[in-house]
């Protein structure tokens, strides 16, 4: 990602508003932007979802192909998550091999759905050690206004819910729904000048001191976390973020 010169100018504006308890788009500190999810958007994928979170727009596609399991997990299918921060989405994204930022995004999304057992990977095993379904979760960012983590996580969950295992094309009988187990929803919070804000916009991300993404499942249990940026959280702040993430996550889960 190339250097952004506007950040310093915006920092003043954003922090001054925060001191008055306001965000630049008028949201509460613990309020997500409007969320719109359209599933089965891409017919060529086994599952897909177009997610709009405020002005952030991502398309998540799920494809399943037959392959070999990893030697150390012969009884489970393979989950592979990939994020493309394509230059279409922002003037700061560049084409070429994935940079650190796309790798972090892909890995955080992967961790949420893997550790939260969004899909029962054992049911994607056809012949132990020999043949399993390899599930590709590809995140295509179309319009970038911050918080890719949550937009992509929500998209992946929504896509799983409507995805079908393509048995027919592989000569294995009828297509069946993807074996979905849990819905781990991740919520990202940033810290700016001591204030905690959920679902940051791009401007907020640019001036943030620290970032924390927390994925929770139906029980309220935490299944994955990622702290980012150079700043720090106090213990109290971490607990508060986890509580908020679990509460907002439950709300989003009920809307999928």
């Amino acid at each position: 990602m190339s250097k952004d010169v506007v950040a310093d100018l915006k920092r003043d504006y954003i922090t001054r508003l925060l001191a008055k308890g306001m965000r630049s788009d008028g949201r509460q500190f613990d309020e997500m932007r409007p969320l719109k999810v359209e599933t089965n958007y891409v017919g060529s994928a086994q599952g897909s979802a177009l997610v709009q979170l405020g002005d952030t727009k991502v398309l998540v596609g799920v494809k399943l192909i037959l392959g070999e399991p990893f030697p150390d997990t012969p009884n489970t299918g393979v989950l592979t998550t990939n994020a493309e921060l394509i230059p279409m989405a922002s003037e700061t994204f560049e084409s070429g091999p994935p940079d650190q930022e796309s790798i972090e995004v892909a890995r955080v999304i992967d961790r949420g759905i893997r550790e939260g057992h969004a899909v029962d990977l054992e049911k994607l095993c056809l012949e132990p050690g020999k043949r399993v379904w390899i599930m590709f979760v590809d995140v295509h960012v179309l319009d970038y206004d911050g918080n890719l983590f949550d937009a992509a996580n929500i998209g992946a969950n929504a896509a799983f819910k409507t995805a079908m295992v393509p048995n027919k094309a592989a000569g294995l009988g009828e297509d069946v729904p993807l074996p979905v187990k849990h819905q781990p929803i991740s919520i990202t919070t940033v810290k700016i000048g001591g204030k905690l804000l959920v679902d940051p916009t791009h401007d907020e991300e640019r001036v943030a001191d620290a970032r924390l993404t927390v994925a929770t499942i139906e029980t309220g249990n935490v299944c994955a976390m990622q702290k980012g940026l150079a700043g720090a959280f106090t213990l109290d702040e971490v607990f508060k973020v986890v509580e908020t993430s679990s509460r907002i996550g439950a709300d989003i889960r009920s809307r999928l």
């Binding site: 958007y41 060529s44 799920v62 494809k63 493309e84 989405a89 590709f136 179309l142 319009d143």
Partner: protein
Amino acid sequence: MGGAPTDLKLIDERGLRLDGRRPDEMRPLKIEAGVLNKADGSAFVEWGLNKVMAAVYGPRECHPRHLQNTERALVQCHYNMASFSVEDRKRPGPDRRSHEISKIISEALTHVVFTEYFPRTSIDVYIEVLQANAGTRCAGLTAASVALADAGVPMRDLVASCAAGKVANTIVLDLGKEEDNFGQADIPVGYVPRTDEVVLLQMDGDLTREEFDKGLHMAIGACKKVYEVQRDALKRRYTARAEGQEEGA
């Protein structure tokens, strides 16, 4: 262009194609301009089962810098297919095919952009194929033209694009996926209606001179229809914008 499997009839007894189209009938085309927030200009094209998005950034600083031209702007197109846009998952990232398509689309667009107005800059055009069903380069070029206009880039005209081809010994317009896979020829065309010029032309397969003549004319006829849809998308975009401004005032 492979041979058709024996059980696949690309044109039936009534002279209709697999999806029920007549030979000279285009798939339904929808265009929307200004669909993205970050980009300077954008357009979304739904053409049959194709879904293609185009975004324009610039004129802006030219990267890589050694490509900079002191006399004019560089139109750099980047055509990319999403890994989930096709039946078998495509490995992400550019391959030789997308490099070639990017190049010919850049060249087609360069012809209509007033590049001399913006020396040393780059006008970056990103084409993302979200769902592919044959004809994505035509859909991409069509979308890119609208996105350039939406970005306010000065142009001589829009480039409209459509393909013709040959299936089951018949010249047809706008090949679908099976027709592309099992047909006999494909001619993608990019056309500038105002100046009556062809700015993109490819062909593969086997055609007689007469067939090529017929195919090219058919494609250009379709480009003129595509052009109307492009103009209509831009008009709708700017009508909406003008109304929005009145409300704001």
